[in-house]
């Protein structure tokens, strides 16, 4: 079979031969099991079917799978040349001079975000702990208040308990603080290039923390009732702004990128590329 001249003839295509053995095998297998719920005889018939089918199938594929040669269609029945009614493609204003884009244009490297987040988080933590020490005489105060979002025993704890060390609280607080710091640091890598070029420290360091502080204050009673109860707003806002300023600064200094402030919003977001003006 393998020496068939049609094997290398471009006018012929090799296809597997149609066969009934799969259906016989499948039918046998089904009957084999169906016998369990009907009668033994059904199983016996099924077994015989399945074995015959299996053997038939084996002879189909061994030593070489059976196949047949089908002649290809005459040329006039073959597919048309590719056509499109859309010959022209709109051009991009930004990016390359071509018709398409992926936007790696210029964002800060992700490592900058990680670093910024960690740095901001560290400063924030130091400030918060300082507050705990000064105002409540315990460095665990802010730690436990943060953890109270997830730890039920802290959520309903007395001020004394919040001021005391709690292992669960410590672990949860560290994880939450780290995770959120890094995530917001990453957001800064995206955010900063889009901000107005002037007064980056204001747009990056002050405005976003204020926005998210407002969000937090609205949702805090639901998310973290204990914190809502004991929060000291001036300090809280100070901590957030410190995070924003440090994080923004680190991200900004890691690698200066071209800002996108002259772009339209959709372009900044990278989901649209404007047509070139004619």
């Amino acid at each position: 079979m393998s020496d068939d001249p049609r094997k290398h003839d471009p006018d012929y295509v090799e296809l597997p031969t149609p066969t009934a053995w799969p259906i016989v095998t499948a039918f046998g297998l089904t009957l084999l099991f169906a016998g369990l719920v009907t009668a033994l005889a059904v199983s016996v018939v099924g077994l015989i079917c399945a074995i015959i089918g299996g053997i038939g199938w084996f002879t189909d594929v061994f030593p070489h799978p059976k196949h047949e040669y089908v002649k290809v269609r005459p040329i006039d029945q073959q597919p048309d040349p590719y056509k499109t009614s859309r010959r022209s493609v709109s051009h991009l204003k930004v990016g390359s001079s071509h018709h398409r884009a992926r936007y790696p244009e210029a964002i800060h490297p992700y490592s900058a975000g990680l670093l910024g987040g960690l740095a901001g988080g560290a400063v924030m933590a130091v400030l918060a702990v300082a507050y705990g020490l000064i105002a409540k005489g315990s460095i665990w105060w802010p730690v436990n208040l943060l953890a109270a979002a997830a730890v039920p025993s802290l959520a309903e704890a007395t001020p004394e308990a919040i001021a005391a060390f709690s292992l669960a609280g410590f672990i949860v607080a560290i994880i939450v603080h780290l995770a959120l710091s890094v995530l917001i640091g990453l957001l800064y890598t995206v955010l900063l290039p889009m901000l107005p070029a002037k007064h980056e420290w204001f747009w990056g360091g002050i405005v976003p923390p204020l926005i998210w502080t407002a969000l937090i204050s609205a949702s805090m009673p639901m998310i973290n009732p204990a914190l809502a109860k004991y929060v000291d707003w001036p300090w809280f806002i100070l901590c957030q702004v410190a995070f924003g300023a440090v994080c923004g600064f680190v991200v900004f200094k890691t690698a200066r990128v071209e800002t996108m402030q002259s772009w339209s919003f959709a372009e900044k977001m990278g989901i649209e590329a404007q047509e070139k003006e004619k």
């Binding site: 084996f58 061994f62 030593p63 040329i75 006039d76 073959q78 597919p79 048309d80 040349p81 590719y82």
Partner: protein, 216 residues
């Protein structure tokens, strides 16, 4: 329709593209990918039975318990695990086109597998008729027979595969280009051996030495 149009139907400029011509297009062999997928799916199947066995350790309400009835099947295990090496030897012989040596090693592999199955049969006979452990005795019996039985059934399927290769080899139908078939079957056999090592550890070693549930 002109001939030109036909060519236009094909991505002509790619064929002429030297970059494409020079890079050969090699894809993995279907049989190998297929057997890997099969082994993956079998692994998932076995792991459920293993988890069920582990979960039910120490949960039988009445005996016999593993420690009472199971002893380490050293000889059978050596046979089965040894057969992994003999099948490798057989494969090697086939690659060197030494059919006689191939038949010898392949036959030994089968023999070792058969010894294993016979041992399992004897063990079951003893468990059922002398030690009164059946699949309905307790949860140990249920999980033991299902896990070991599932493995044994795979050994039997493996033996059929090995046998079919041996028969075709004797009939001279096993050609040089069948070494991939042989390789794929040997992979399956290695997998069956690997499962046995897990079964050995879980059933014959761990559960014999545990009498409290592992999981809460």
């Amino acid at each position: 329709m002109s001939a030109e149009n036909v060519n236009a139907g094909q991505p002509q400029h790619f064929i002429n593209d030297p970059a494409d011509e020079s890079t050969p297009w090699v894809l993995p062999s279907p049989r190998r990918v297929g057997i890997i997928c099969l082994i993956l799916t079998e692994t998932a199947l076995f792991s459920i039975f293993v988890v069920a066995y582990l979960f039910y350790i120490g949960r039988s309400l009445n005996g016999p318990f593993p420690a009472d009835v199971l002893h380490l099947p050293v000889f059978a295990s050596v046979c089965l695990i040894g057969s992994s090496f003999t099948i490798m030897a057989a494969e090697f012989a086939l690659k060197k086109a030494n059919h006689a040596l191939f038949n010898l090693w392949w036959g030994i592999t089968m023999l070792l597998g058969i010894i294993f199955i016979v041992y399992t049969g004897l063990e079951w006979h003893e468990l059922i008729y002398e030690k009164n452990l059946t699949i309905r005795t307790n949860v140990f019996g249920s999980t033991f027979y299902s896990l070991v039985g599932l493995h044994a059934s795979h050994v039997i399927v493996g033996l059929f595969l090995l046998g079919s290769v041996l028969v075709s080899s004797f009939r001279g139908k096993l050609h040089h280009d069948h070494h991939e078939h042989v390789e794929v079957i040997s992979w399956y056999w290695h997998f069956v051996d690997a499962v046995w090592i897990v079964v050995l550890g879980v059933v014959y070693i761990l559960s014999v030495h545990m009498d409290a549930p592992l999981m809460p």
